[in-house]
Symmetry: C2
């Protein structure tokens, strides 16, 4: 059997980092079923060429023919363009990839000034909040305009993302207990889930989010060993910068999750390091957290690590935990050695050189 992976590079550096992930997956040999990569179209470039940011054929192939997928990055126009809508947001919805899981952990990289201790997973709700994109605009008699957007929070989506967060916290706790000598985590206490919201202002919507997540822990003994805390989103951003080491798993509605994961990325040195998966109950799509970075597009200097790590996350959620760990160990070795680093980390290596270095250490 083979592993069918839909590859959607989309725009900008997505086209450079996805091939890097592909090379790494190919190099795993018999550790995984032979991967078969199915190139698929989407993006702002595709919209400009053929009028669709997310062709139906892409969705069909993903649903009918693929075991998983990898997404690159997408450019968006800064102004409203009729008929255009972000394909990544649409993909998450179409495939019901309701969780965006973003592990952010620091590796000591030579030459990096800041060294925050950070080892957290951000679990971002991926289907609702303001991302339902229900917006209207109207013009008043005096010519001024009023625009409205709807923010939706449901108990169902909040509960399932809450469950995902507690499951991840449980697993992390077990992994920490099982860590070999010399590789222990600095985290000494129980696993912890931090609920991020702004219920002091949005008492109804964020109130529902917070209660739904809380009900997951309160409804079972399974999570009895997991601490539960809350942070207002503004305070969360503040604390993440002051003491990132106090966080284990953070769960947040869509937009807050988007914002705090970029914040966390800053702590570990570069957005180019942070991977994610968009996960549903039956499908998973890897996606580096970084954007399409038009300023460095086509130069072969984009950091491939976020994309390579995203591939590892995909493997591990398909059950190939060992090969995923192998990839991550190779990446960590390259970072800690510090010889092959892309410019975002202060180095001079190309995308290809960093990928080669990872391959050599596999």
């Amino acid at each position: 059997t083979s592993l069918k992976i839909g590859m959607i590079p989309a725009d900008g550096i997505g086209k450079e980092v996805l091939p890097a992930a592909q090379r790494v997956l190919e190099a795993l040999g018999s550790a995984i079923p032979k991967p078969e990569f199915i190139p698929l179209l989407a993006g702002w470039g595709e919209f400009n060429k053929n009028g669709k940011a997310l062709p139906e054929e892409t969705i069909r192939v993903l649903k009918e023919e693929c075991d998983s997928a990898m997404f690159g990055s997408v450019s968006s126009p800064s102004h409203k363009v009729a008929g255009y809508s972000s394909p990544i947001v649409a993909l998450r919805k179409h495939l019901d990839l309701y969780a965006n899981v973003r592990p952010v952990s620091s590796v000591p990289i030579p030459g990096q000034q800041q060294s925050f201790k950070c080892d957290m997973v951000i679990v971002r709700e991926n289907t609702e909040c303001l991302y339902i994109k229900q917006e209207t605009i109207s013009t008043n008699p005096d010519g001024s305009k009023i625009a409205l957007a709807t923010r939706q929070i449901t108990s169902r989506a909040s509960e399932r993302i809450g469950k995902m967060a507690f499951e991840i916290a449980l697993r992390r706790g077990q992994e920490r207990l099982a860590a070999p000598k010399g590789k222990e985590s600095w985290w000494k206490g129980e696993p912890k889930v931090t609920i991020v919201h702004k219920s002091n202002v949005l008492s109804v919507t964020d109130g529902l989010f917070r209660e739904s997540v809380r009900s997951i822990k309160e409804g079972t003994d399974r999570y009895a060993g997991i601490k539960m805390e809350e942070q207002l989103v503004d305070s969360m951003v503040y604390r993440m910068f002051r003491e990132p080491e106090i966080f284990d798993v953070a769960v947040a509605p869509n937009l807050y999750g988007d914002i705090i994961s970029d914040g966390a990325a800053a702590l570990v040195g570069s957005l180019g390091l942070v991977p994610s998966i968009n996960a549903g109950d039956n499908f998973v799509m890897g996606e580096p957290v970084h954007g399409s970075a038009p300023d460095i597009e086509g130069k072969n200097i984009a950091n491939p690590i976020a994309s390579i790590r995203s591939a590892a996350l995909v493997l591990s959620s398909l059950g190939y935990v060992e090969p995923a760990a192998k990839i991550n160990a190779a990446v960590d070795a390259v970072l800690m050695e510090g010889t092959y680093l892309t410019p975002d980390l202060g180095g001079k290596s190309t995308t290809t050189e960093v990928t080669d270095a990872v391959l050599k250490r596999l």
Copy 2:
């Protein structure tokens, strides 16, 4: 004549830091009209006592009898409480204090590990976005719940906050040009306004925000010397942590402004340092950016500096620029000396001792 200042300590450490600001204002002597402080009620504590988080009498006195005001901080219940609504959000609306101006600048403090170069002003829209608090909730036949909130962006509110941002950038540019030798800013280029939004997802509401702010610069030659840039809010949080020195003035819708100002506070060492004013066309209310901090309430260890600096902002926007500068210079001297620091800055001094130190250097 006298200066009538409404004092609303509200909850928690607001009750400790507002008196500190009052002492500093009193110590200015004939540099300002004799201040008269009018104590006013509001807050979660007040709600629990008398059933109103913001008594009508407080609004009336502010509107009819005061030249300006100082607000402390407010505690909020984490769950929805019938009849309770955040008094600070309500005050901003009632007095049409449409701009929340938050200058964040770093002062080298002995003993602080991180030293980011940061000297920016966050100009936060203060009346709309999700803060209009129009929320509904309903129960589906299966018992699950759906909650909706409305996010409102108008051209009018976005234009006036845009104008405020460009005016502040203009003034800062002039101040930098006039800075005496040895006190030059590191900022060498033109003044800059960064528009923060998320128009790649919210193309209608944030699209309107962005266009309205842009139209302010585009509609006149007055701001020809000011650069205009844009950042998506997630990217903004990332960049602020990676290179805070590239920002001058940032303008943002309400919620993004809330989040990024806490982020900026982390950069300068403590939320306890960051002041703000809530400003309208005819009224100004100072407010430290920090919260009510129930964990340290009543211990006399809250940092009074955010509150003292907020008082300076109030003075300066009433036209008392010299006395305001005097306060800021005294505060900076205390910080740079590093002898009197509250625990949030790694020191052991009390609120009273830090205030005494500021008074001595006035």
